[in-house]
């Protein structure tokens, strides 16, 4: 994995190849990445302070997620993410307050404090509800894509994401296969960070790249540098455009790194050499992209400082608001089992 990251880092183009993105869009990418990192950090802080039972972060995935989200068309596309996708959901309109409401498990959370943090839902945004069951959401994404085709809604696509470990699941395979058979408007984005909690990629699959499996489904497979938001944007956009215009599914694999433990309940020192993590930190996408935009004059130091102050302020305000929000009432436990009342005996 270190090699892959090194290769990805080495392959990074020295100059800015903006792939059609405006300065505003490039700054929006940076803002998303800074916000992700701030919110991730906040989750771990709150957990260590004993204020929330659990948090998980996507540090190292920021570029891939900000880039992929930039390719998503709000109001048209549907996102079926996995739990390590904070940047993707932020990129399609999910707010820091929604994230903090979820972290604090407050009544104001869209799931009413039921779901783990990072288990998003927002029907208004086209953000499907997900469980923690790995790859369980993939067939749902296919069903949504089928519905688009069924209703003749061209110009819409589904973005379904997983980590690399999820691709070992039968439901992932069945989903890609079903989508391929029906040539559905869907992109399967795999954020390959090399680990499924503690299990390395080499214990998940024999192939070097998840995307190598694409020919087995008769669809294109593409690998991109997930530490580069612009490259990920361009790769995912091409795949989504292809899906939106009847070209069928694409398997996109973004090579990323997971700098943090799996979650606040994990200790990666038990299975991961620190030097590997330190080595990978050299290619940290957040300062790298910040440097690139500074060097290319897309942003100046003062504006970067302002962005960082803004995301910290947004995070602090969201934290305060969410912390003060009420918990769900105990009787809320019984709501929404079915439509109407819940009673197994009538």
């Amino acid at each position: 994995m270190a090699k892959a990251v090194e290769a990805a880092g080495a392959a990074k183009k020295p100059a800015l190849d903006r792939r059609g993105l405006s300065d505003d869009q490039l700054r929006a990418l940076l803002r998303n990445m800074l916000l992700q990192r701030q919110l991730d950090n906040r989750g771990f802080q709150l957990n260590r302070q004993g204020k929330i039972p659990f948090a998980l972060g996507s540090e190292g995935h920021e570029a891939a997620q900000a880039g992929a989200a930039m390719a998503f068309e709000r109001g048209k596309d549907v996102l079926v993410p996995y739990y390590r996708d904070l940047g993707l959901v932020l990129g399609i309109g999910y707010t820091p307050l929604e994230m903090l409401n979820s972290m604090f498990a407050r009544a104001t959370d869209r799931s009413g404090g039921r779901q783990f943090p990072n288990h998003y839902t927002n029907r208004d945004m086209g953000l499907l509800t997900i469980s923690s069951i790995i790859a369980g959401h993939c067939p749902h994404a296919v069903g949504v894509a089928y519905a688009f085709t069924y209703r003749g809604e061209t110009g819409r696509a589904v973005l379904c994401t997983t980590g690399d470990g999820a691709t070992s699941e039968g439901e992932w395979h069945e989903s890609v296969n079903f989508a391929a058979v029906h040539n559905l408007p869907i992109v399967f984005l795999v954020e390959n960070n090399g680990f499924a909690i503690s299990t390395p990629q080499s214990m998940q699959m024999r192939v070097k790249h998840v995307a190598d499996r694409a020919p087995g489904y008769g669809i294109p497979g593409v690998v991109c540098n997930g530490l580069d938001p612009i490259e990920t944007y361009a790769t995912v956009k091409a795949a989504l455009d292809r899906a939106r215009t009847g070209g069928g599914p694409t398997l996109v694999e973004a090579m990323v790194y997971r700098y943090l433990s799996h979650s606040t309940d994990d200790d990666d020192r038990t299975y991961r050499d620190r030097t590997l993590v330190e080595e990978a930190r050299r290619y940290d996408p957040v300062p790298t992209f910040e440097r690139l935009l500074l060097d290319e004059g897309v942003i100046d130091e003062a504006a970067v400082a302002q962005l960082k102050a803004d995301v910290l302020r947004d995070t602090n305000e969201a934290t305060d608001t969410a912390e003060l929000a009420p918990f769900p009432a105990a009787e809320d436990l019984y709501k929404n089992v079915y439509e109407g009342t819940h009673e197994p005996w009538l």
Binding site: V78, V80, R110, S111, G112, R114, Q115, H119, T121, N122, R123, L128, T129, S131, I133, G136, H137, C138, P139, H140, A141, V142, G143, V144, A145, Y146, A147, F148, T149, Y150, G170, E171, E174, S175, N177, F178, V181, K335, N336, V337, Y338, E339, H342, E343, P344, W345, L346
Partner: protein, 333 residues
């Protein structure tokens, strides 16, 4: 359902077929997906001709993969379609367990109503057809533990039509069980036109005063035969068709029991942890002092499945004679 509605005689397969057909005609959002439901018209010919009439978009021959049959249907349901997923035999449903229990049943709950899952999963179940270990099982007890699901197991053509229509229109996921042995052996009058039967209502199929029998599926018909036969011996047995397994109809069972004061529960599914255990527990909690005899359960034995060999299948299945004897014993108690 008006009593005077004109009726048609049909068997259970024809009732399922007509109901599905009417649903496809009535609602553009409805589609059928499963293994061999298209060109083959389903292994029991339930969907024969549907592919030609409704086209491949609405009648989907899926890849041979049960988890995605249900999982893709869950996604369709979340997105506003009304999928009817078929699992070819109930025995094949296990690969879809996560999608049914972990996903479909929890969609509304985990999103607090943000998303819903109006999905029907139809599947033929049950033995007595020489189906051996993997074409004979009853699965209801595996799923009735799960809040968020509804489970129906009607036994007559008229009930199938009314309840399958209700299931297709229901806003939550419904597991719809069709007993294979009743497919062609059970015939009945079915009202023409559109009607639904409320989910969660049992039906008293035969009135009686000395004993209450609760059953469903193929066993229900045997119980009716036995109870009718016992009339010649002067016994009066009431037979309740449960029809709906989740939710279950407490009111009908207790009303009957307060009259007869004796209860026999009959089901083909294994006894241990079966539907009868829950009914029995409910009755003990709610009506213990109304009982004049211990509750009796006549169920499938505690073995993994019925064998292919005829004696092994017959040993597993409950005979009508055994039912009649249990009824005599309880009335005499």
């Amino acid at each position: 359902m008006a009593v005077s509605a004109p009726t048609k005689t049909m068997n259970n397969v024809e009732a399922v077929r007509e109901t599905l057909h009417d649903a496809l005609v009535r609602d553009e959002r409805t589609l059928i997906m499963g293994e061999d439901v298209g060109a083959r018209g389903n292994v029991f010919l339930i969907t024969k001709g549907f592919l030609e009439e409704f086209g491949p978009k609405r009648i989907i021959d899926t890849p041979l993969a049960e988890a995605s049959i249900v999982g893709v249907a869950v996604g369709m349901a979340m997105e506003g379609l009304r999928p009817i997923a078929e699992i070819q035999f109930a025995d094949f449903i296990y690969p879809a367990f996560n999608q049914i229990v972990g996903e479909a049943a929890k969609t509304r709950y985990r999103s607090n109503g943000d998303y819903t899952c109006p999905l029907v999963i139809r599947t033929p179940y049950g033995g007595g057809v020489r189906g051996a270990l993997s074409h004979s099982v009853s699965i209801e007890a595996l799923f009735y533990h799960v809040p968020g699901l509804k489970i129906l197991a009607p036994s007559t053509p008229a009930d199938i039509k009314g309840l399958l229509t209700a299931a297709i229109e229901d806003p939550d996921p419904v597991l719809f069980l069709e007993h294979k042995k009743t497919y062609r052996s059970v015939k009945g009058e079915v009202p023409e036109g559109y009607y639904t039967i409320p989910i969660g209502k049992a039906d008293v199929k035969k009135q009686g005063s000395q004993l209450t029998v609760v059953s469903y599926g193929y066993n229900l018909h045997q119980a009716l035969d036995a109870a009718t036969r016992l009339e010649d011996e002067g016994l009066s047995v009431e037979v309740i068709d449960l029809r709906s397994i989740r939710p279950m109809d407490r009111t009908t069972i207790l009303e009957s029991l307060r009259k007869t004061r004796k209860l026999l529960i009959i089901h083909e599914d294994n006894k241990f942890g079966g539907i009868g255990a829950e009914i029995s527990a409910m009755v003990v909690e709610e009506a213990f002092f109304d009982l004049d005899a211990p509750i009796r359960r006549l169920c499938g034995p505690d073995v993994p499945a019925m064998g292919y060999a005829q004696p092994l299948e017959e040993e597993f299945m409950i005979s009508t004679d055994a039912m009649a004897q249990a009824m005599r014993d309880l009335v005499a108690f």
